[in-house]
Symmetry: C2
Subunit: 144 residues, 2 copies
């Protein structure tokens, strides 16, 4: 398994365990990554009816962050069907950030990329949890 991929798996396990501690029903998709023909995001996290999908990328210093067109469009289709929100989780040497997948831009070659500056402005895990909690309370308010 190439080093990016093995680092990606340990980051996925870390994210899953942290979200589980925060009360989510959360799993890693089987054989995550591009081997699957039906592309599925790496992590599916559910809480009180809110659906969060996370594609995880792990990068050493300065490496470009991009996702191949076919895989990106597969996980976007999965997210669209689910009615959930798709995030990119990026592990850099000193930080872990979560960015809404719509922030990625499409390159000329059709792949999806994001620059480090945008990643660094992304949410921390605690912010993502608070974001979901606020969605839950807004949904509850709409029923009262």
């Amino acid at each position: 398994m190439n080093s990016n991929k093995s680092r990606g798996s340990s980051v996925e396990r870390y994210i899953v365990s942290r979200l589980r501690d925060k009360g989510f029903a959360v799993i890693r998709a089987p054989a995550s990554g591009s081997k699957r023909k039906d592309h599925v995001p790496d992590i599916i996290a559910l809480k009180s009816g809110v659906i969060i999908l996370i594609e995880v990328k792990s990068r050493k210093n300065g490496q470009k962050i991009y996702i191949e067109k076919e895989q990106a469009e597969g996980i976007r289709e999965f997210a669209k069907r689910s009615g959930g929100e798709l995030f990119l989780g990026v592990k850099l040497p000193k930080m872990l950030r979560f960015i809404k997948f719509d922030m990625l831009r499409q390159t000329e070659g059709g792949n999806y990329a994001i620059d480090l500056e945008t990643v660094e402005k992304g949410m921390e895990l605690e912010d993502l949890v608070r974001y979901v909690e606020s969605k839950i309370s807004r949904t509850l308010d709409s029923f009262l």
Copy 2:
């Protein structure tokens, strides 16, 4: 792999493929079954914000249908956290039925069981799809 388990896997793949054809975002949980310590239902199916969780059992003629206490309570906890609805999907020789997990009763030994008669009255896959579609339209109506 014992024959119940291998039959279970092929039934899971069948259900996943049929739900995918019906527009769901759907996956089989990795290493489904009792090996996992954090019990997760066999199938997670999402559509337009509705979360359906399915534990799949496959039985030959007349075999009892039960789920061990620890596994049953693990998948019930997962379902509770998720805010989704938990179903038991039972493949019998001539039929496949879906029953709300709450229909199972707890045995003296603490396991969860269901009798064949109740299973045979369960939903067919098309009924389950219609059930989800009706939940989706009710949610949309509540926003109009």
